[in-house]
């Protein structure tokens, strides 16, 4: 029997809804190994690298305390335990961006996209579903890892009196901000993936936008470079994940994050235009 009583009666009523697409995308995300690897790398980087750097710093200070106490004081005052705590985002953003790319290009590479589009022929709900699921999972997990990193680092540096409480100026903003920034990077990855439909191309574009652009701008005349630099994606976006002390060449935290979100929205908008109009 091809049709069973249960099959026909229960399945006849189904129509595609945004909530159902979301559920489906969550299943898709959760049933691929690459998801777990990307999130594991990002989580370890964000939650663990800060602690490693802090521990190295502490041992360096212990050495300085014996050799050059005045230098120790200078170093301590330049140290931000908040920035140290979330410093791992530099690596985490790459893993998260790749995750965002793979969620889309993995479907194009395997032909799965045709199955997906046959189930959701209006297409846009599919893109919104992927974006929502990837961003939701990224934010929830990265917030946890940022908190773990924060408290871990504060405990490590407490003996030198340079630790911060979550209620101190900038601390909570940076912890939430780093999770938000990584969420926006995930969205950028999804957008680039849907726009370029090719894993290698989309990851190259991501790396170029985040890491190559700053290197190119550095070659420009200093005056010109200095006026462009704050608006580069990485500089703009990471402002919200940086404590006051480190933002010499950056926009104000939320302004910078807004600029980054605007870039992301532009890429996602182009991707939405492409997925709607073209042949699959």
């Amino acid at each position: 029997m091809i049709t069973t009583a249960a099959g026909r009666s229960s399945s006849r009523i189904g129509v595609v809804t945004p909530a159902r697409v979301l559920r489906s995308e969550l299943t898709k995300l959760g049933t691929l190994r690459s998801t777990y690897w990307s999130l594991l790398v990002a989580g370890l980087a964000l939650g663990g690298l800060g602690m490693i750097f802090a521990a190295v710093q502490i041992s360096e200070w212990s050495r300085l305390a014996l050799q050059d106490p005045s230098l120790l004081t200078a170093e301590r005052s330049a140290f931000s335990s908040i920035d140290a705590a979330v410093g791992g985002y530099n690596l985490a953003q790459l893993a998260i961006g790749v995750l965002g790319v793979l969620v889309v290009t993995g479907e194009y590479a395997t032909g799965m996209i045709r199955t997906s589009l046959m189930a959701v022929p209006q297409r846009l709900p599919l893109l919104w579903g992927k974006l929502t699921v990837v961003c939701g999972v990224t934010f929830a997990l990265m917030l946890w890892f940022a908190l773990i990193g924060f408290f871990g680092v504060q405990a490590i540096v407490a003996s030198h009196g340079v630790d911060h409480a979550l209620g101190d100026p900038d601390a909570l903003r940076v912890v939430i901000g780093v999770a938000l920034y990584l969420t926006a990077v995930a969205a950028l990855g999804v957008g680039l993936g849907a726009l370029l439909r090719n894993t290698a191309a989309a990851i190259s574009a991501l790396v170029a936008l985040l890491f190559v652009l700053p290197a190119l701008v550095a070659v420009l005349p200093a005056s010109l470079g200095a006026s462009i630099a704050p608006y580069l994606p990485l500089n703009a976006g990471s402002a919200v994940a940086t404590a006051e002390i480190g933002r010499a060449d950056q926009l104000a935290p939320w302004t910078g994050f807004g600029v980054f979100c605007a870039y992301t929205a532009l890429v996602v908008g182009l991707a939405a235009y492409r997925i709607r109009g073209t042949n699959a």
Partner: protein, 320 residues
């Protein structure tokens, strides 16, 4: 019901589908035949809303595919078997599909059982053979219990047992009143499965007919093989017998005659006292009848030596 009305699809300069119109009706298996590159897969992609037609109108279950509120319940499709993420298990793949329509988990288990993949439901698809992927694709097509099924070369990669299974499944689905539309480039395959056939070539409709009709044509137009020690004499005699007669010397004592029946040849030989050792009617194969329809048969019969590389190649492709 699937309806195409004056459908044209262009990719750049290339015309993939050229003003194609046909209707696929429920209750029978309709074969979609044509050589490779005839536009079969493109047509199926157009029907499923994956590509947009350059001109014309396509309706499935009365609407354009993209306007269906629950497409998996209306249309089940198997395009290429590998339209699955290789990193996911068969169960996870089907579950994700099912969830878009709120289809129950039990239905996922049901279709997995139906196609015989229950034992490997939680194995990653990457390790599946082509035949297993094909079965998974069919499970996906049946998931929403749709009234219309569209399958692109479903027997590809299946073992003989799987091919028999597919044939009976398609017949069963049609017998339940569903519309079943199956593409193939093999006439012999379609003869065993389909009732109706739609034949295309270079993106155009060549024929819309029944399998019975093609089978009848195949048995009519065959040649007759005559073996005689007096081949030259018989050849001269037969050529004079009528203007549509053609005689080809296959070997020193062997003639292939078309345009005359065995009876006419026998009588002509007897009239001149020619000794016949053999007189055999050569039935044209189904593939020949099909080639006849697609217009490629002209090329085939025109080329005398079977070693002609181009023609042989074509035959092999069709038989592959």
């Amino acid at each position: 019901m699937i309806e195409l009305l004056d459908v044209t699809k262009r990719y750049g300069d290339k015309l993939a589908v050229d003003d194609l119109s046909f209707t696929v009706r429920p209750g029978v298996v309709t074969g979609f035949l044509g050589p490779n590159g005839a536009g079969k897969s493109t047509t199926m992609r157009l029907i499923l809303g994956l590509d947009a037609p350059s001109a014309g109108e396509i309706r499935v279950a009365g609407r354009p595919y993209r306007e269906l509120a629950g497409p998996l319940h209306e249309v089940g499709a198997l395009l290429e078997a590998r339209a699955v993420h290789r990193g996911r298990s068969a169960h996870a793949h089907l579950l994700a599909m099912a969830q878009t329509h709120g289809i129950d988990r039990t239905r996922v288990a049901e279709v997995l059982k139906l196609v015989g993949l229950t034992d490997v439901a939680h194995t990653r698809v990457g390790s599946f053979s082509l035949g297993m992927c094909q079965r998974l694709g069919i499970a996906g097509a049946l998931l929403g219990d749709p009234g219309i099924l569209i399958l692109d070369e479903p027997t590809n990669g299946l073992d003989p047992e799987g091919i028999v299974w597919i044939r009976s499944l398609l017949r069963e689905l049609a017998a339940e009143g569903r519309t079943v539309f199956v593409s193939s480039h093999l006439m012999s395959e379609m003869a065993l499965t389909a009732d109706h056939v739609i034949i295309v070539g270079r993106g155009r409709l060549i024929a819309e007919t029944t399998v019975d009709d093609i089978v009848r044509k195949a048995s009519d137009g065959g040649a007759v093989r005559a073996r005689t020690p007096q081949a030259d004499l018989l050849q001269t005699e037969l050529v004079l017998a009528g203007e549509h007669v053609s005689v080809r010397a296959v070997a020193r004592d062997l003639l292939d005659v078309s345009g005359l029946s065995s009876r006419q040849i026998g009588e002509a030989a007897a009239g001149r006292g020619i000794v016949l050792h053999e007189l055999t009617a050569l039935h044209a194969s189904l593939e020949d009848a099909y080639l006849d329809l697609t217009g490629e048969s002209v090329e085939y019969t025109a080329a005398t030596p079977p070693a002609d590389s181009d023609v042989t190649h074509k035959r092999e492709k069709l038989a592959a």
